[in-house]
Symmetry: C2
Subunit: 270 residues, 2 copies
């Protein structure tokens, strides 16, 4: 019988490995960010850790909900634009139907705000025990992820304070997106976001290397003899590269399409 | 002999009680925010918790340092304006020698950015043991302090995501503060900050009540018999109101002035 952590871990790994464009998860984007895959695989290669959620960092433009004016999901809050990397970030505002105005609501309670946000990498990792959680927490803090913390059940949240949170407009009475900053200003904060992404990915790499050096390799050395013949451990250590993952997802997508086609044919011929 | 937690706690309480305009701590402001005093006293009334740092929330305007362009203390980063409440927030920008411009640096690396920030309540609490840390963490999370976490040595950080982080200008080559948003925009984000402060203090009150109800009162009930004659516990429970604290600080300030005067007279008469 497997212990409950290993059971939980295997069920999470199964979900992660099935996740893809045709099998979305509960996040707004629905799929795992490619930038996170190496660190997810690294962490999951350790028998005492499993990633439960991740965001590699993103720029988003958010229309606040109707009730609480503070950003929260639900109550009709809405993402107007989201990107997890820099490829479609330049001139993003040309894709939104903004009405540039010089009027401001009297307060953030008077109209639904539109906020431009940069959010850095965030990773949640479930650990088997307190010792593992403490180790991961220390490694993250030493890498400059100063807003990290351990939650209940040995869940570690890895967070930095790299951010932007800029009110840029509001929802007009006619449901138009009114923007009270200039295009030049939007262009500037977009440029700042490119810099933030750069810092963010640098920190992501540093974290990857620190976890590898400070946890994975050390634990490998100290338990090398004990687990040499432990095939369960070995199978958790086999991780895919981004290319391997892409190829597998493609194969699995094709297979699902094929199955769907067959199923439809069966229904039709009934 | 006292245990090490109680020793540490008493030394922290001594520092807190001595802190005031004439005895600054290491924070930029140097003194404890008045808004934090009730919750600090409440938490410190529990024998297994002690507050190690606090900020009740603040608006700041920060000139980034010279090296890393990401906000960090040191490397000549500088606060241009800071307030911990709403009394001197309105029209704060009239007190700064801003040059309003329509030019932008090409990136945040090219010139030192000026950022307008709203930061919410943050509280650090050292707990005696894991059970107490877990309890405090849960209470905070349930109150909506969703970025809370437990660090090493049972230190709990209580944090929310209420924030603003807005680039508003940069340091000109002639060392002028160049502002590339309009006064109207500064006025708007100031109004938004008034709303954020309101939410922030509401959440601070909720947290105070939840800690009182979920930890202090419960533990009081369950250990009432055991500690009835425990004078050490009792002395930790005696807390000052804001008014009492003000009166005491004033008295102590006067006493120190008097001592200084006497010391000077002694030097002069030597």
């Amino acid at each position: 019988m497997q212990d409950s952590f290993t059971q939980k871990k295997q069920s999470i790994l199964k979900e992660i490995s099935a996740n893809g464009p045709e099998n979305l998860d509960a996040s707004p984007k629905g799929t795992i960010d490619e930038h996170c895959i190496p660190i997810i695989n690294l962490i999951n290669s350790h028998r005492d850790m499993v990633t439960t959620s991740s965001c590699s960092g993103r720029v988003s433009v958010y229309l606040e909900g109707t009730q609480s004016k503070l950003v929260s999901k639900g109550n009709e809050g809405k993402w107007i634009f989201v990107t997890h990397d820099t490829t479609n970030l330049a001139k993003w505002y040309n894709t939104i139907d903004f009405q540039y105005v010089h009027e401001y609501p009297a307060s953030s309670y008077e109209a639904r705000s539109i906020l431009y946000k940069f959010e850095a990498l965030i990773l949640h990792v479930k650990c088997r025990d307190q010792a593992t959680a403490n180790k991961l927490y220390s490694v993250a803090m030493n890498c400059g992820f100063r807003e990290s913390g351990i939650g209940s059940n040995y869940n570690v949240a890895i967070r930095t304070s790299i951010k932007l949170d800029v009110p840029i407009g509001y929802l007009g009475p006619d449901n138009t997106y009114r923007c009270f900053v200039t295009e030049d200003y939007l262009n500037y904060i977009t440029n700042v976001s490119f810099d933030r992404f750069k810092e963010n990915f640098k920190k992501l790499d540093q974290l990857h290397d620190a976890i590898e050096k400070g946890i994975i390799n050390l634990d490998d050395e100290s338990s090398a003899d004990a687990v040499q013949n432990d095939s369960k451990h070995k199978s958790l250590k086999e991780w895919e590269s981004i290319e391997e993952r892409r190829a597998r997802m493609k194969q699995e997508g094709l297979r699902r399409k094929e199955e769907l086609k067959k199923a439809k044919e069966t229904v039709t011929s009934d």
